[in-house]
Assembly symmetry: C2
DNA sequence: TACAAAATGACCAGCGCTGTCATAAAGTTA
DNA sequence: TAACTTTATGACAGCGCTGGTCATTTTGTA
């Protein structure tokens, strides 16, 4: 019922110290021994006692996840991925909801890390995009992994997991182009989120590649919210030459746009195609369901945690360019159709 | 930077053990001593080391939150409340997403509790409504608090926090009645969630009180989803004598109903009033925003955690009837209007 | 066969706290 | 005020593990 390291050592026929070595993958252990120990652990369902480990070792065996994101689905997905990775590696996850805009946020993060002696931190937007946080963390010598929007691994951002919004947006835009649309508008998300900028860039790139010039009236600033979608779309649909398709920076905006179009008795997708981004449950709670880009948040989070573990513990000081890049995938549903398909 | 119990003891001029006593509010400590120690703690910004406490004590200082709920907003809110309570009391929160319908769920929960030596568990639906979980937990002698739907504290369910869906539904229905509606339909949630039954009961009670008999065609079974709302409303609106108002069992269903009505060019709220339940972000992401019942999930969660702490630690073996009851409050927005107000 | 290198074990201290039990202070009674 | 009970406090071991230091065994290599 309570399996300790002693039991494992006995079962594997090695010393307690060797078991410890295996658990912390210290060097100088024969592969055969490692296997023996691992097997014993498995058979006994051994789970190291986190409290004891934390207490004994200087570094702790828990990582932190700070969040401040209005999108609950995003948070839950991230959390799920982190939790999975933690379970697998015998770590614990400390979650810390907070307010990114509070003035003392940097100190708050530092306190959190120091008090809980965290092994590391996973940062998602907006925290991953706050240089002051990264600096503070570096200065107190704490490992962290940032999940950020970006397409190409850059040598100076080693501890990052990239989400290639650019390419995904490029693909989505191509989908619209292939349906024959050329009058495509773009509803931006919050300016301070780099994801919005990346998506816009991908959008523009796709247009440019087809030799379509970007109509500045078709690029509407906004924020990641339903209201913003309503407003933006209303504005667009009042234009003398309306767009035939709208690329919304995320699903919420798209839902808002869809709503606005309906108010004006515009049929979706026959008269107007709309795409979202994220594949959040929102995208399935509209009618018609939204064509969108699927972001595998859980997987991304898992990969971030794994990266963190690799940095944190011996065996992998390889602070080199293992920067996973995730490209959200196009998910075609019913909110898009060939241009002029109003039957 | 790292304050230990020693420092506090020294500062307060007492033994380390006495400080420990104060922290755990054990009996037999003079008030004067308590004050001295508390002051020392404050001045030093002392934070007990959770790992050490967990290791040393038989019971741990962490509680668990198991969830399996498709509604991310609900989970996030609960989590937030639990976290707040935990911070306040120096506990840690262990979160454990899982699948309530998996066959080994009971064993899984037991393993979780035993392995992490949890001090207690907070159970929300669906777990709080699974008798086998409660039994298993009782049998291994673990404290837990269930958040369930119910209106009156009952002596046999001591460890519960009640959410009075009945009364809230009663009030919402009254709101509709006061607007002059008498043809009111009800879109049910999942049958196995007792909340749905409670809400329906409250709805019926309100009608009965006004001497309105319940039209069985107006009570549509369904589930807590957008689709279900679409389907149910479509069915209702095809009836020869349509309802003038729809009570949806939650906001998602309401959003679906709203959607369906729009498809049929029915103006909301002029031709049809719709109410939701929960005050989830959904209810603000529709147009018009939904009249709904606000469920203070964070507060409910906090209160559940507090209840758990009280049970768990000395000072309060009072396993008596402190059963907080929360009544979701009516929140009037724009999806309801007086009957026949189509101008 | 000899010898260096690698793998493992034995042992101990100690992380910061709690539990147990012994002891000191305070309160009560006659 | 002595004798005794109750209440308040302290001393000490130990929770399960890591990290260090050496000693010892096993393995690989010349």
């Amino acid at each position: 019922m309570k399996v300790t390291i002693h039991d494992v050592a006995a079962k594997a026929g090695v010393s307690i110290k060797t078991v410890s070595r295996v658990m912390n993958n210290e060097p100088s252990v024969k592969q055969a021994t490692i296997d023996k120990v691992n097997q014993a652990m498995q058979e006994l369902h051994y789970q190291p006692n986190a409290a004891a480990r934390n207490l004994a070792s200087t570094k702790s065996y828990s990582i932190g996840y700070i969040y401040d994101n209005p999108n609950a689905y995003y948070v839950i997905d991230m959390q799920r991925g982190l939790l999975d990775a933690c379970r697998k590696h015998g770590y614990e996850l400390l979650i810390h909801p907070t307010n990114a805009k509070s003035s003392g946020i940097v100190q708050e993060v530092i306190d959190l890390v120091q008090h809980s002696r965290l092994a590391g931190l996973v940062l998602t937007p907006p925290f991953s995009e706050m240089p002051e946080i990264a600096e503070a963390l570096s200065s107190i010598n704490v490992d962290f992994v940032r999940i950020i929007s970006g397409s190409t691994p850059s040598p100076k951002q080693t501890n990052c997991v990239l989400v290639d919004d650019f390419t995904a947006a490029f693909k989505i835009t191509n989908h619209l182009l292939e349906l024959g649309h050329s009058q495509i508008a773009f509803l931006c998300g919050d300016e301070e989120h780099s994801s919005s900028g990346e998506r816009l860039a991908g959008f523009k790139a796709a247009l440019t590649k087809r030799g379509i010039e970007t109509n500045s009236k078709f690029i509407v600033p906004g924020s990641y919210s339903f209201e913003s979608g309503v407003k933006g779309a209303t504005q667009l649909l009042a234009l003398p030459n309306k767009p035939t398709a709208i690329f919304a920076c995320n699903d919420e905006i798209a839902a808002g746009a869809l709503f606005s179009a309906r108010l004006q008795h515009i049929e979706i997708p026959q008269q107007l195609s709309i795409v979202g981004f994220e594949n959040s449950p929102f995208s399935r709670q509209t009618w018609p369901p939204l064509t969108t880009a699927h972001q595998p948040n859980s997987t991304i989070a898992q990969s971030a945690a794994e990266l963190l573990f690799k940095h944190t513990r011996p065996g992998g000081q390889s602070h080199t360019e293992d920067q996973p890049v995730f490209i959200p995938e196009l998910l075609v549903r019913e909110s898009t159709a060939p241009v002029g398909s109003e039957s």
